[in-house]
Structure formats: C-alpha cells, structure tokens
C-alpha cells in the first residue's frame, strides 16, 4: 500500500501545492512570531525574577548590617555610589547587567527609630523596576 502511495505518478495539482504552501507559510509565520514573542517574554520573566532575587539578597544584607549595629547610611555609602542624588550600584550576573538603587530614609517619627529601606532593581533594557520595601528598627 505504501509502495503504491509513493509510486503514485499523478502527484499534487499545482493549485493544491500553491494553496498548501501559502497556508503553511502563513501558519509558519504566525508560529515563528509566537515562538519569538514567547522566548522574549520568557527571558524578560527570568530577568525580572533575577532582579527580585538581587533585591532580596540586598534586603537580607541590610538586615545583617542592622543586627550588627552598623549604621545603615554607612552601609549604603559603602555598597552604593551617589549618582545624581540617588545611591546606585551595578550588578552583573549571567551576562546581564542590573542597576540597583537603594533608598534609605529616616521616617522621623517622634521617639521611634524606624528606617525605611527600599531596594529598586532594574535589568538593562527593562521597563518596570522591581521594588522591595520594608521598615526596620535601628
């Protein structure tokens, strides 16, 4: 049966082949677009997740400094560089660069020493930064 199928000498009509090629072309283009968009979105998700992990690492580092009674403003000054009014640092991981900004603010509450720490991380070429924020006693 298979031999007969391959020995079929008539083949496809030209119209059939053209229609089939056009359909397959359209679908292939759509599929390629889906794959490309998916791959791009997947990379962007991975980088956002990595940004979150970097922010979390810095938060824990900040906590350790606080627990060792190190002034958080000193920690910020050693870990980040002042750039146009904001404290920034650049981290490279797996070939990607992440820009990190640290916001350390004394809330100025009467008789309560509470400091607000916000870590902002954005990967190079990213649109939405990841923010982690907390408040700690000092």
């Amino acid at each position: 049966m298979a031999v007969k199928l391959f020995n079929n000498e008539k083949g496809f009509s030209l119209i059939e082949v053209i229609v089939a090629m056009v359909l397959i072309g359209i679908i292939s283009a759509a599929f390629t677009s889906v794959v490309f968009t998916g791959s791009k979105a997947s990379t962007s998700h991975k980088l956002e997740l990595e940004s979150l992990m970097i922010a979390q690492d810095l938060m824990e580092e900040m906590r350790i400094q606080r627990d060792q009674d190190i002034d958080l403003l000193d920690w910020r000054a050693t870990r980040f560089a002042l750039d146009a009014g904001t404290w920034k640092s650049s981290i490279t991981k797996d070939g990607y660069t992440y820009e990190v900004t640290a916001h350390v603010n004394d809330l100025g509450l009467p008789s309560i020493d509470l400091i607000e720490v916000v870590i902002e991380v954005m990967y190079e070429g990213g649109v939405n930064p990841v923010y982690l924020a907390t408040r700690v006693r000092v």
Binding site: K4, N8, A20, Y131, A133
Partner: protein
C-alpha cells in the same frame, strides 16, 4: 467482514490519484496550532508563577515592616515609662496603656518611592492576647521606684498588602527589661507564623 471493508476503504483512499496536499496542510496547521497553544499556556503559567512569587515577597517585606513598627512602638512606650521617676506614694499602683495609644496602631501605613506606591501595612495585637501595656510601680532598689511590666509577652499581627495580595505575619515578642538601668536589654521573637492569602 467489516474490518475487511474498512481496510479496503482505507486502501482506496491511499490509492486515489487526487493527491492530499490539502489534508496535509490542514493537518500541519492543526499540529502547529496545537504546539503554539501549548507554548502559550506554558508561558502564561510561567508569568502567573512569577507574578505570584513577586507579590508574595513584596507583601512579606511589608508585613515585616509592620512587625518592626509594632515592636518599635511598644518599646518606645516601655522606655517612656522607665524614664518616669516614681515615688513611694505610687508604690503598688498599676496603670495601663492601651495599644491604641501606640504610634500607627491598626492604621494603614503606605510605603512609596518617588510617588509610586509599593504597598501598605498595618499592625495590631492578635485577638485574645494582651492589647495594653500594664505596669505596676514597685521598689526595685532602695528608694528607686519603677514601673514594671506585668506581662513581657505580646503577640503582634501584621499585614502587608499590595494591589494583588495580602501577607500576614504573627510574632510573639518577649521584652527583657533592666529596670535598674532603665533600658530594654533584649527584644526576642519567640514564635513566628506566616500566612499568605
């Protein structure tokens, strides 16, 4: 017999000389659409997982801010009391400070950066646990009268929330006070529980 007919019919369809470019194209279209659908679904799941993880971590840090705020507010009230010089006339008197006198007690606190709101938190005492600071004035050294805590354990519940999720933390906090020096020596968290909605 039926099987034979089916085989014959199948054999006829493969032996026909009309070609099958169209059925082949339709088959490929269906296959590619199926693969694309599976890919999109996987991507969507990945997106949802990442968003859920991000919200969980963000709200957890906000809830931790609530616990820290609660501990700091209670500490501040205790230190205020420790600084007050009492006399023999106050001996064995008691006084209570309800938690609603604490800074930001049960009030939503907003955390924002550069005008962008990251989230909110609030703290309060856990239902069924002490909701006030209770002190008794005693003579801790000769002619040194101090307000002494009647209870050293307080359970703080804090919620961190953003537009998507709420994270709740419960912390049982123990205060160790040195009444002679008038200082809180240690604040210890004995129990810690996390709840994510």
């Amino acid at each position: 017999m039926v099987l034979l007919n089916l085989l014959k019919c199948s054999s006829d369809s493969f032996n026909n000389r009309n070609g099958f470019a169209m059925p082949l194209a339709i088959f490929i279209i269906l296959f590619v659409t199926l693969i694309a659908g599976v890919m999109m679904n996987a991507l969507n799941n990945e997106f949802k997982t990442r968003a859920a993880t991000e919200n969980m971590i963000i709200t957890k840090y906000l809830a931790e801010a609530g616990i820290e705020h609660g501990i700091a507010a209670i500490s501040s009230k205790i230190e205020e009391q420790l600084a007050i010089p009492y006399s023999e006339l106050d001996y064995l008197t008691t006084h209570d400070l309800p938690f609603n006198t604490l800074d930001a007690y049960t009030q939503l606190q907003t955390v924002d950066v550069s005008g962008e709101q990251i989230g909110q938190y609030q703290y309060k005492a856990k239902a069924g646990t002490p909701e006030q600071l209770s002190f008794t004035i005693i003579e801790i050294e000769q002619e040194l009268y101090k307000a002494v805590l009647n209870n050293n354990y307080y359970t703080i519940v804090a919620e961190g929330k953003n537009s998507e999720k709420t994270f709740r933390l419960e912390a049982e906090v123990e205060y160790h006070v040195n009444y002679t020096s008038g200082q809180i020596e240690q604040v210890r968290i004995n129990k810690w529980a996390e709840f994510y909605d």
